[in-house]
């Protein structure tokens, strides 16, 4: 016999589903930007729901649930990425990233016409995003793709806004550098 826990909820308080469901599609989309695959995006959102359900009362009191939930997803993703690595990921000090940029700079740059062609290719842009480090990709997804503000992200991890702006600047610079790669370089240079 499986014990069923009490449901302790104030009468009239919205259910967890009622609080989260209106934002689920957008959370999934953000997760997809982060992870790059539907399966991983579903896993990330699933993990978020598991983490948030015990915090339902907190969520009930949140004034703007959309950015709050998105921030929770962002933090969860970053934490998961960091746990998978042996050391903390911080693109601001990523030697790997700097090396990748140097390799690109050393290459012959693509012509403006080649860049324009890449810009018209969604698959190429999506592939370039996946070549960014997870934190750079997450920042671009957060701000440039899904349109959340850096202010909405800054407070949750006590990161100064200026630091976030610097990281976003580096992320964008890296993505633009990837655009400048001549065709065929993508397989040789990894970020």
């Amino acid at each position: 016999m499986a014990p069923v826990p009490f449901q302790r909820r104030d009468a009239g308080a919205p259910s967890f589903e009622a609080l989260v469901l209106p934002h689920l599609e957008r959370l999934y989309r953000l997760a997809y930007r982060y992870t790059g695959t539907s399966a991983d995006a579903e896993d990330l959102v699933q993990s978020l729901l598991v983490k948030l359900l015990p915090q339902q009362e907190t969520l009930t009191r949140v004034e703007l649930p959309a950015p709050w939930l998105a921030r929770a997803l962002h933090n969860l993703y970053v934490d998961q990425v960091r746990r998978r690595t042996t050391s903390a990921i911080d693109l601001a000090a990523s030697q790997q990233d700097e090396e990748a940029l140097e390799l690109i700079v050393d290459d012959k740059l693509a012509s403006p016409d080649e860049v324009a062609e890449k810009l018209s290719d969604r698959d190429w842009i999506a592939a370039a995003l996946m070549r960014l480090t997870p934190e750079h990709r997450a920042l671009i997804a957060w701000h440039d793709i899904e349109g959340y503000t850096l202010e909405e992200l800054a407070g949750s991890r006590n990161i100064p806004l200026g630091t976030l702006k610097s990281r976003l600047h580096r992320a964008r610079a890296h993505l633009r550098q990837l655009l400048m790669e001549p065709s065929g370089a993508a397989l040789r240079v990894t970020g």
Binding site: F6, V45, V50, L53, P112, I125, D144, R172, R176
Partner: protein, 248 residues
């Protein structure tokens, strides 16, 4: 403005953070600098393309599956926490089955002291509880030795529920006993007139059963007491020890 200034301000321009005079200055520079003009065009186009990137739609049943899995995970977590809290022990004499058990009302000042007095008949198997509120009833079992894979079973009388297990009259689980005192805390919610709670320990074919009479007290006492003291008194009254008396 030079090219370095131009690139330093490019992000702020893309984000709409640049004041009109600064935008105009960038435009003037781009008009005379083909490389910077191309950089601005590419950056603007990339930003627009990023916003247009498609994403797959949620699969139709994802929401149902995701919420169900979240509730299941929470339930599993609560059950694990509850069982960890219930890891205590049964005492004793399960192995020798000669063990007796005594219930002695515990005094507030002796909460952490072992109750050594022999039980008196009037004190045995009776604990005062208040109806309409959750209160812990702690059962302590002394085991002369560590025991593994004990099956613990608790049967509740009608009108008494274990917190987090509403409507469930019987619960059982596997546990280990350590040598010495093992405490089982049961957060009980008494709705009715109390009744007899039984706890049994089984080791292989050997079974030891204990029972406790849950005797309810009126919701409003005849004596006046401040709320905090009343809660403390109810808690102490509900705290009993089950002593393993080998000679009993």
């Amino acid at each position: 403005m030079n090219c370095q200034d131009f690139h330093q301000q490019l992000d702020d321009r893309l984000d709409g953070r640049l004041a009109p005079p600064a935008v105009a200055a960038m435009n003037r520079h781009a008009a005379d600098c083909r490389d910077c003009a191309i950089s601005l065009a590419h950056a603007t186009a990339l930003q627009r393309r990023l916003r247009e990137l498609p994403a797959p739609a949620l699969t139709p049943d994802f929401a149902r599956r995701a919420f169900a899995a979240a509730h299941q995970a929470q339930q599993d977590t609560r059950r694990t926490a509850r069982r960890n809290a219930l890891r205590f022990a049964l005492a004793a004499s399960v192995a020798v089955l000669a063990i007796g058990i005594a219930f002695v009302p515990r005094q507030p000042s002796a909460i952490n002291q072992k109750v050594a007095a022999a039980p008196t008949p009037s004190a045995q198997r009776v604990v005062q509880v208040s109806s309409g509120q959750v209160q812990p009833v702690r059962l302590r079992f002394n085991s002369p030795q560590a025991l593994s894979n004990i099956t613990m079973r608790v049967n509740l009388p009608a009108g008494v529920e274990l917190q987090d297990y509403p409507g469930q009259r019987e619960l059982s689980w596997q546990t280990d006993l350590q040598s010495g005192a093992n405490v089982l805390e049961l957060p009980l919610f008494v709705r009715g007139n109390g009744g007899v709670l039984t706890a049994s320990l089984q080791l292989g074919d050997e079974l030891k059963q204990f029972s406790v009479v849950l005797q309810t007290t009126p919701a409003t006492g005849a004596f006046r007491m401040d709320p905090a003291s009343r809660i403390a008194a109810a808690r102490d009254a509900a705290r009993i020890d089950m002593e393993d008396l080998n000679h009993a």
